[in-house]
């Protein structure tokens, strides 16, 4: 297990480096002079030159990249062009709300999705199955921002039960988490169903049933446990979907998270913030997949040997 862990950790490093090259290149692809951008439109020629030297923009590109890596390693992400606050501070403030939102969304989506998927697999062809599959395909077709607005209309504007947005107690989580997680729940339900159906057709399940194992045990022990293994991988991928989805859902519910900060920064063309956020989102996604891979190794010993 330990060797597997080390191999997976080492394998992640080139991906993270490649991601950092992409994000580093991002600012260099921008039209115009980065030094002028940082110094502001009113700065004199000398001031612009000063910024250029200070930011190493007059050095060879590989030196600039190494400096960039060094700064990232120390969480020196520069300052916002608009508010002049350190980017690390801006992001630090917004990190927890987004993390909580994605975790809560994943928790209900995973529970509901797996439950519906299993129900649908057990009652294959029945009305439960049909209803779940309708939910599965409509869930991925629903525009999240529209679902969010409809919920606000019903539960906040008309019924007054829940706050329209903002960050706070559990009431604030209900609608955003439901909105963000619904598509994931739909994908999970569909995937779990097909995994369940596949395992249910295996010989050992038939053997268990024919030797008189109670149906409840056949479902829970023989089928479900094996069907859930591929679901773990999907969970990692769907976390990425949630991170991306949070960008839009946070805008609907005025959620003070990373997503809304990103949209605001793009609108203001605040490039240091944009760059740091893109890097953070990608790193988070890669790390979550690493964690999922490790979990996978714990559950399925065969994976460790590959």
């Amino acid at each position: 297990m330990f060797g597997y862990l080390i191999r997976r950790l080492v394998g992640t490093i080139p991906v993270l480096l490649a991601v950092s090259v992409f994000v580093f290149a991002f600012v260099h692809l921008l039209p115009g002079d980065p030094a002028r951008m940082v110094a502001g439109p009113d700065a004199s020629f000398e001031q612009v030159q000063e910024v250029r030297t200070e930011l190493w923009l007059d050095r060879p590109i590989w030196q600039q990249y190494l400096r960039y890596l060094d700064q990232m390693a120390h969480f020196e992400l520069g300052r916002s062009i608009k508010t002049h606050e350190p980017v690390a501070f801006l992001i630090g403030q917004r990190f927890m709300p987004t993390l909580w939102l994605t975790v809560v969304s994943m928790a209900w989506a995973l529970t509901a999705g797996v439950a519906l998927g299993v129900l649908s697999g057990v009652r294959r062809g029945g009305w439960e199955d049909q209803a779940t599959m309708v939910f599965a395909v409509s869930g991925i077709s629903f525009p999240s921002f529209w679902l969010g607005l409809m919920l606000i209309d019903l539960f906040s504007v008309r019924l007054g039960w829940l706050p329209t947005g903002g960050y706070g107690g559990w009431q604030h989580f209900v609608m955003p988490a439901f909105t963000l997680g619904s598509a994931v729940a739909a994908v999970m339900a569909r995937f779990t169903r097909s995994a369940y159906v596949e395992v249910a057709a295996e010989d050992y399940v038939r053997t268990a049933r024919s030797k008189g194992v109670p149906e409840r045990r056949v479902i829970w022990t023989h089928t479900l446990r094996n069907a859930l293994i591929p679901v773990i991988t999907l969970t990692g991928l769907q976390f990425g979907f949630l991170l991306g989805g949070a960008i839009v859902v946070e805008t609907v519910f005025a959620w003070p998270g990373l997503g809304r900060l990103l949209i605001d920064s793009v609108n203001l063309r605040d490039y240091p913030v944009i760059q740091a956020e893109i890097l953070l989102f990608a790193f988070e996604f890669v790390l979550i997949n690493l964690i999922v891979d490790v979990l996978y190794g714990l559950v399925d010993p065969e994976i460790r040997l590959k």
């Binding site: 490649a18 629903f142 995937f191 990103l262 793009v266 490039y271 893109i278 996604f285």
Partner: protein, 290 residues
């Protein structure tokens, strides 16, 4: 069994076999019909929309649905139904162009990567992996941040994020096709590499590509609407569905039709493409079934 019946089985081409199976999927056929209807409505917008997309009617501001304005009016008294019909042009065009563009680049890279293998394959696939490390709508937002907001840039943005998906898919199919007897046979009689790729491998990748393209149309339309909704895509006077939703959100509880109508339009269009994709998958290849 008579000789004619045997002949009929023998001459059933893959295309006819596909059509026979596709016809049996009621949901997919209805979805296809709906998509064709939406395309027709969008194409004929100037003739069938009851009003212009930007024509104001100050005597009918923020009115609910009525016989004069079937889906009501917005803050400027613009007819919502007409704007939705015109907006369909934008959504379908953006979806179609971005998928075609992303698909063309992705398929080309995928076939080359799978066919040549070696270091080229390794390099291309690592680049695709890195692109896939940026989750969901994020790559599209990065591209818009780079190029600036606007509906044309949204097309590029969505196309770029579709490239790795198609490249990976087609590379896999290419690897499998390379091992088939007919490709090996063509190679052994000296068919050139270009001919092999274009005539023998590319057509074989198409079933999977068509299924993904249909599913991707749904995703692309959804992403474009989301970008417009957060203000990075189509800009305000435009009747793009996401932008209309963004306009409508200030009137929740006052004029719900401003939000309900464009949302329904997005949902129905995306649902139709997703259901069509599912039906195509079942009809084209049993092995693609999930």
């Amino acid at each position: 069994m008579s000789a004619t019946a045997l002949d009929q089985i023998a001459i059933r081409s893959p295309a006819r076999e596909f059509w026979r199976r596709f016809r049996g999927k009621r949901v997919a056929v209805i979805s296809l019909a709906l998509i064709l209807l939406l395309m027709l409505t969008a194409a004929l917008a100037p003739w069938i929309a009851p009003y212009g997309p930007a024509t104001p009617d100050y005597d009918a501001v923020l009115e609910g649905p009525s016989w004069r304005h079937l889906a009501g009016t917005d803050t400027f008294g613009r007819d919502i139904l007409s704007r939705m019909i015109w907006g369909g042009r934008i959504s379908l065009t953006v979806g179609f162009l971005s998928v075609v563009l992303g698909c063309a680049v992705g398929v080309t890279l995928g076939v080359i990567s799978g066919f040549f293998g070696g270091w080229l394959d390794g390099l291309l696939m690592r680049v695709m992996d890195v692109m896939l490390a940026f989750p969901g709508i994020l790559p599209a937002i990065a591209v818009v941040a780079l190029l600036g907001p606007g509906i044309v840039n949204v097309i590029y943005a969505i196309a770029i994020s579709a490239v790795p998906v198609f490249a990976r898919l087609v590379r896999g199919t290419t690897l499998a096709l390379k091992q088939t007897l007919y490709v090996q046979a063509s190679r052994s009689i000296g068919v050139s590499r270009n001919q092999l790729m274009l005539r023998h491998i590319l057509p074989g990748t198409m079933p999977a590509v068509i299924v993904y393209a249909s599913l991707r149309m749904g995703t692309s339309i959804l992403t474009a609407a989301a970008l417009s909704f957060v203000g990075l895509g189509a800009q305000p006077p435009s009747p793009e569905w996401g932008a209309m939703l963004s306009d409508g959100r200030s009137y929740l509880g006052v004029a719900d039709h401003l939000t309900i109508c464009p949302g329904m339009a997005i949902l129905i269009t995306v649902l139709a493409f997703n259901l069509l994709g599912d039906g195509l998958r079942d009809a084209l290849d049993q092995k693609l079934r999930t």
